[in-house]
């Protein structure tokens, strides 16, 4: 079981503030860990000793609080209403002193300090349209002028930049091209050198290998020829010995035949002589 309760869980268990699955897990853990069980018992002892610190008896002093029934002028809503009314009054007085007047006539709201003055000139619809038209035309003309001037400046600036930049770009391209050619040349040269070296190494390795292979082949062939010769010689010797033995045997057999023939001849001659 890998479960190990932390400090907080152990304390909660000890004070009986653990429940459900967690409680069961801690109980099982304590069953398996006597040291933790001992700690819990020690805490119980500590708490039982500390319980000896009894409460002090104390008499609460009387609670003296102010009268809650406040007069109406101390109530919040009354003071707020009074404040609003006072502000309004101040505004009215100020308006009176400044001669502020407001009037509504002919769908017009007029607010003025002092007596209102009549408008000297009233613009009609055609006049307003004319004013707007004139203003628009003036605005268009000024915008066109500004636009043309800006275009010219922009054109000149582009031409200048193009002229200045094209030579710079050419020189940069040339430099880059020269640089690239040089780099390509160096790269090719380097590649050739490396290839040559690689080929040399390969050929050297290849020659050495072939030489070793041929030497091995020759020595193997020489060994084979020697072995073959040796075997042939042994075979030849064996055949000679065999032939010699056969010859000897033939001689022996011949001698025996001759001897027997001679003996039979001698016997027949004796018989003949006897018959005679």
């Amino acid at each position: 079981m890998n479960y190990k309760p932390d400090e907080a869980t152990l304390v909660a268990y000890h004070f009986g503030e653990l429940e459900g699955e967690e409680l069961k897990k801690v109980e099982a853990y304590l069953q398996e860990h006597p040291a933790e069980r001992k700690r819990s018992e020690e805490w119980r002892q500590v708490r039982s000793v500390m319980a000896g610190l009894a409460d002090k008896e104390v008499i609460a002093p009387p609670l003296i609080v102010g009268n809650n029934e406040r007069p109406i002028w101390r109530e919040h809503y009354f003071r707020m209403t009074l404040g609003i009314a006072a502000s309004f009054l101040v505004l009215l007085v100020a308006a009176r002193l400044l001669g502020l007047s407001a009037s509504i006539s002919n769908q017009e709201l007029r607010i003025s300090f002092g007596a209102p003055t009549a408008l000297e000139q009233v613009l009609d619809k055609a006049g307003v349209t004319q004013m707007i038209q004139a203003s628009l035309e003036e605005n268009n003309a000024s915008m066109q002028t500004a636009w043309d001037s800006r275009n010219q400046k922009l054109e000149a600036s582009i031409q200048k930049n193009l002229a200045g930049n094209s030579s710079r770009i050419n020189s940069l391209v040339k430099e880059a091209s020269a640089g690239q050619q040089e780099q390509v040349r160096q790269f090719v040269g380097q590649m050739q050198t490396e290839n040559l070296k690689l080929m040399r190494d390969y050929l050297q390795l290849s020659t050495t290998g072939q030489k070793e292979y041929l030497e091995g082949l020759l020595s193997d062939f020489s060994r084979y020829v020697q072995d073959q010769r040796k075997q042939d010689m042994q075979y030849f010797q064996a055949n000679l010995v065999n032939m010699k033995e056969n010859t000897d045997q033939f001689k022996k057999d011949t001698e025996e035949i001759l001897t027997s023939l001679m003996a039979s001849n001698r016997g027949s001659r004796t018989d003949n002589q006897k018959s005679y």
Partner: protein, 198 residues
């Protein structure tokens, strides 16, 4: 402990309900302060300030079920304030603040008149010893140990009162208990020894 409607009435400004609340909780808050400081005057100061603050601010208490942790929050804050003042001011000997000495307000404390004087003396000595152990705890551990052990708050309520997480409260309790265990072992105070003495 309290009828919800008592707190609700107190919240609406009913001074009678506020008085009842104060009478019900004064002893607890005083004892919290006393165990925290081991000083009668400071405990009284904290208790009085706590209930003045309660009177002023109870109207803003949203959830009446959280009255207990709310009240201890006020008490804790005043305890910390007093502790700061105490640290900045010249220290006062605890001996002068003991019950029965010249500065103690004996009339405000229990005299246990019917008890055996020898037993009372031993009880007083034991209280001194245990109070000394509490005093040696760090301020944070002391707050948690007193609230849990003597005030019987749940870990959740302590966490609310101190505005910290429940796990932090439990962790402080763990180390507080371990520290008390070591102190009691050093002083050779066991349950058996206390039982024999008393």
């Amino acid at each position: 402990m309290h009828a919800e409607n008592l707190i609700a009435r107190a919240r609406e400004g009913d001074s009678l309900a506020q008085g009842k609340l104060m009478h019900a909780w004064y002893k607890r808050i005083y004892n919290y302060g006393f165990k925290f400081f081991y000083d009668h005057d400071m405990a009284m100061e904290v208790a009085q300030k706590t209930f003045i603050a309660m009177h002023r601010n109870i109207g803003g208490l949203q959830d009446t079920s959280r009255f207990r942790s709310w009240l201890y929050t006020i008490a804790v804050n005043f305890c910390r304030e007093e502790l700061r003042k105490k640290k900045s001011a010249a220290s006062v000997s605890l001996e002068d603040q003991r019950p029965g000495t010249r500065n103690s307000m004996a009339w405000q404390e229990s005299n246990h008149r019917g008890d055996n004087p020898e037993r009372l003396l031993r009880q007083s000595e034991l209280s001194d010893l245990l109070q000394g152990c509490l005093k040696q705890l760090s301020e944070e551990q002391r707050e948690v140990v007193i609230m849990k052990e003597y005030e019987g708050l749940k870990f959740r309520e302590i966490a609310e009162a101190l505005s910290i997480s429940e796990n932090t409260v439990k962790s402080r309790m763990y180390y507080g208990l371990e520290a008390l265990k070591r102190m009691l072992e050093r002083k050779n105070i066991t349950k058996e020894a206390i039982g024999y003495e008393l």
